[in-house]
């Protein structure tokens, strides 16, 4: 079985899988206590104190970063707001375990609603909740195996600081989690321990306990039952890859010097430093949702300006491409309600469609962008999400011009827009292909459904055709056509996209060094031949193999 997630801590690790998956069952809704509310409250408060004390003690034993993380968790367990909520639920008759469950749920929903860094802290609250409930109900919590001779691959839905605090790098060969992102605790702890880690790996918890697992913390590949030669190959690949990556620095370009600016996808000011340290030449996709999510009112102009200025200041030389608010679908906002109930939000009023219904929100955002851009001297470009027709592109470009923004563009993520890219390009100054949504809509396959992952393979020839057409349309109009999305993060596919004429590639910062190396070892001619062969294939696997046959150095580079 081969799985794929997002590599967040580099290196190769292998060993038997140890699954840390058991959760404490949810206490039944409506459970009541025997009648003595004071005694029940006492019980709940004791359990909270007990768990807080354990976490602090664990942190003290672990020291370093873990100590601070666990201290913060201990504070959460005894949070006065939480205690008040639990007490009032118990006063109304709710049993202590259920009261704990409900009080924690309230806070975790708030954090999840904010998203980003705070959203990932929701998992910490789940872990705390389970610990307190286990304490109250006398259940054993699943723990880690005692350190043995063979390092194991720790597999979980998500790992909490309390799980990982006392781990040593010797006991664990790798981490694999189904949830989590680059700033989840799993990622942070793994990097601190120097242990390879893959997060957001769908299906990880279906691995059989004890089965041998091989984990590539760079590519995100997870392979069950590898042979000895698989392991040896993975290790030599990793050595070669690190060496290749270390040799190549500077701006993105092919071996023969054709420039392909390498930009970063950024979700907020906190990501800017990672983008810079990975050598990004600018920002190719600045998602602005972090400013808006979890709010009752849209943020003011001043707060927005500050966030935009931070990006322009981080990249004074390179382009900074800001995407206007992409709400709707999976990111609903209280102040931007859709016109009517949406049985299928992915096909509903989202992205630019929603902003056209609420022009005042767009106007404030564009004005804030114009103010930030005018004061900075940086190269600010603004693009709209979820644009379908040339008429929409024209409308958005006019709105940008009215706000005195010099460069307006659109994302191409709807097949209709890709097919008629020529018409859209004529209305704007640049376009950028969003491959994740483009694949979702072209293949009629929900992005979140692991069962359909084959259809989201960015090597699918139909997706390559759509990208080829839209990049050619941009080139013909003499306007930049870039690619942002997962496709650009695959070193081989990045070469293919360069061969198709992509003016820039934008990706998560961690993928930049490998892509930079892949481009530097191949000529533009090789990239073009790879693109042509890939499009001639009939399957995703065939396209990948055909392209890599032209990209002769990838194998040796371990990319």
């Amino acid at each position: 079985m081969n799985l794929r997630g997002v590599g967040v801590s580099p290196g190769i690790g292998h060993g038997p899988a140890y699954l840390l998956t058991a959760r404490v069952p949810e206490p039944p809704e409506g459970a009541t206590h025997a009648g003595d509310a004071d005694q029940e409250k006492e019980r709940a408060v004791m359990a909270l104190a007990q768990v807080a004390g354990e976490l602090e003690a664990r942190g003290d034993r672990a020291g370093g970063e873990a100590r601070e993380i666990l201290k913060a968790q201990a504070l959460m367990a005894e949070d006065p707001g939480l205690v008040v909520k639990i007490r009032s639920l118990i006063d109304r008759g709710t049993a202590a375990p259920r009261a704990v469950h409900e009080a924690f749920t309230k806070y975790r929903d708030v954090l999840e609603g904010v998203g980003g860094y705070l959203g990932e802290r929701a998992a910490d609250l789940d872990d705390l909740r389970d610990r307190v409930i286990a304490q109250l109900t006398g259940q054993e919590l699943p723990g880690l195996p005692p350190p043995g001779d063979t390092p194991y691959v720790l597999v979980a839905h998500d790992l909490a600081p309390a799980d990982t605090a006392l781990l040593s790098g010797h006991a664990v060969a790798a981490f694999v989690t189904e949830e989590g992102g680059p700033t989840s605790h799993t990622a942070i702890m793994a990097r601190a321990l120097g242990v390879p880690a893959v997060v957001a790996c769908a299906g990880a918890t279906t691995l059989r306990p004890g089965v041998e697992v091989l984990v590539d913390g760079t590519s995100g590949e997870v392979r069950a039952r590898p042979t000895e030669s698989d392991v040896a190959r993975a290790e030599s690949v990793d050595t070669a890859r690190q060496a290749a990556i270390d040799r190549v620095t500077g701006p993105g370009r092919t071996k023969d010097g054709h420039p392909v600016p390498l930009l970063a996808n950024v979700g907020g000011p906190a990501d800017l430093e990672a983008a810079r340290s990975c050598g990004a030449e600018g920002v190719g996709l600045y998602r602005t949702e972090f400013l808006f999510l979890g709010r009752a009112e849209p943020p003011g102009a001043e707060e927005q300006e500050r966030a935009y200025r931070a990006a322009l200041e981080a990249f004074p030389g390179g382009p900074v491409i800001v995407r206007t608010l992409d709400a709707g679908a999976d990111k609903p906002l209280a102040f931007l309600p859709p016109g009517s109930a949406e049985p299928n939000p992915a096909l509903g009023e989202r992205g630019l469609r929603l902003l056209r219904a609420h022009p005042e929100v767009l106007e404030t955002q564009l004005d804030a962008l114009a103010t930030a851009g005018a004061g900075s001297g940086g190269r600010l470009r603004v693009m709209a999400p979820m644009v379908t027709t040339a008429e929409e592109a024209r409308w958005f470009a006019a709105a940008c011009r009215a706000a005195d923004l010099p460069e307006a563009g659109v994302m191409i993520e709807v097949p209709a827009a890709a097919l008629r890219a020529r018409d859209l390009v004529a209305e704007v100054d640049f376009v950028s292909a969003g491959t994740n949504d483009l694949a979702q809509y072209a293949f009629a396959a929900d992005r979140e459904l692991g069962a359909l992952s084959e259809l989201h393979d960015p090597w699918q020839p139909a997706l390559l055709d759509l990208l080829a057409g839209l990049l050619a349309a941009a080139a013909q109009a003499g306007k930049p056509g870039g690619v942002c999305g997962e496709a650009a993060a695959d070193p081989g596919l990045a070469c293919v996209l360069a061969g198709l004429g992509a003016a820039s590639l934008s990706m998560g910062p961690a993928a930049l060094p490998a892509v930079r190396a892949a481009l530097a070892y191949h000529t533009l001619e090789q990239c073009r031949a790879a693109a042509e062969s890939a499009r001639a294939a009939t399957t995703a696997a065939g396209a990948r193999a055909a392209a890599r046959a032209h990209l002769t150095e990838l194998e040796a580079l371990g990319l």
């Binding site: 601070e68 913060a72 949070d79 707001g81 708030v110 705070l118 906190a270 500050r306």
Partner: protein, 86 residues
């Protein structure tokens, strides 16, 4: 009622360690501590790490801290200094 404005300097904003330090200090004070963003919104309990986190204060944002009673000025000075420490 005493009041201090502080601009949050830590890169992670008023989250993680800065939030924990802030709350630990606030918890030692006998009086109520309220925290709000200078841009408005309901003030939250300065002794609640969950409420402080959910306030979602980013680097560069300014908060208003209020407290009343004996020793309030001293506590406010300490809290403002924690918030503005990078």
């Amino acid at each position: 009622m005493g009041e201090r404005k502080a601009t949050v300097a830590a890169e992670v904003g008023l989250h993680a360690r800065p939030a924990a330090t802030f709350v630990q200090t606030a918890m030692k004070a006998p009086m109520d501590i309220r925290v709000a963003k200078v841009t408005g919104g309901e003030p939250v309990n300065g002794k609640s790490i969950l409420q402080i986190m959910a306030l979602d204060v980013r680097q560069g944002e300014t908060i208003v801290i209020t407290a009343e009673g004996e020793g309030a000025e001293e506590v406010l000075d300490q809290l403002a200094s924690i918030a503005s420490t990078p």
